[in-house]
Amino acid sequence: MTYSFEVPLLALLMITAAGAILVKDLISAAFILGSYSFFLALVWAWLGAVDLAFVEAVVGAGLATVFFLLTLFQTDPKDHSIRRTTPPLVALLGLPTLGLLLLYAADDLPEFGDPASPASVHVSPVYLENSLQDTRTPNVVTAIIMDYRGFDTLIETAVVFTAGIACAALLRKTRT
């Protein structure tokens, strides 16, 4: 397995993530977060999750950036810039320790693409083998999220609808 493509991509991910945290201006941070989402979409596409890459590119890099910018345009310029204080010693020591523990635990995860991993022996074979003649849908992801897991998607749609209603109720002036 060669690492010619993934190492620069993951390095760009880390650089943009650190940039979004460290930059002094919130508008710049919104743009850097958009580029982070774009690189993340490339990672999803490279892992073979093209549907997810689509959503990440359109929502993360496109729509969320527009929402952030529109929100920031409503604030004063003094609210855009952030004055940072040095983090406390507990955070400086505790978070790297937590990261090391997670890295240690990542050894026990099944290898990527392992056909014998628990995730790929439970229900995935049923979907992959039956979805085409069951639903006449070649894209198995669509068949799963819309048919086999239709109830989840219904509730997700309700969540999106609730978000829109909540924004309208909180932000729009009432008409009298």
Partner: protein, 149 residues
């Protein structure tokens, strides 16, 4: 308050780009069964094209009329999705079990395909309207006279 953009280049380019984005969104919606994509992405792209027209041509521009009309469709997509589930109940089966859609000339797998198409349209409508609605809520906070859309 968002006014129309001054630059001729931006306006001319977006006049070309917005229909293309909408066409591609419909392609994503109806080919979500055969290629990557689906209702959610199509809805976001459709909403993004409407937002784009509002950002470029301003709220008063004639190109933004569709975005204003879209606000009246809040909840339609959710009703469509849940309504397909209700039709399955009427057809004598479980909620959202598309084999019970009462379309007599279709066999079971084709009924499930039809159910997937209909629910995807519902998701796309819901997401597009919500995206436009959130942008209108965020962009026109202080202006009471702009809120009657």
């Amino acid at each position: 308050m968002i006014h129309a953009h001054d630059s001729v280049i931006v306006r001319a380019l977006s006049r070309l780009l917005i229909p293309l984005v909408q066409l591609y969104a419909f392609y994503i919606l109806f080919f979500g069964q055969y290629s990557p994509g689906g209702g959610f992405v199509a809805g976001v792209m459709l909403g993004a094209s409407l937002i784009f027209s509002v950002l470029v041509f301003g709220l008063e521009g004639s190109a933004s009329a569709l975005a204003k009309k879209a606000l009246h469709g809040d909840g339609l997509g959710l009703i469509l999705f849940a309504g397909v589930g209700g039709l399955c109940l009427i057809g004598g089966g479980e909620f959202l079990n598309y084999t019970n859609l009462a379309v007599p000339w279709l066999e079971h797998s084709a009924r499930r395909s039809l159910g997937i198409v209909l629910t995807q349209i519902g998701v796309a409508l819901d997401v597009a309207v919500t995206a436009v609605s959130i942008v209108f809520s965020l962009a026109f906070i202080d202006h009471e006279e702009d809120s009657h859309v």
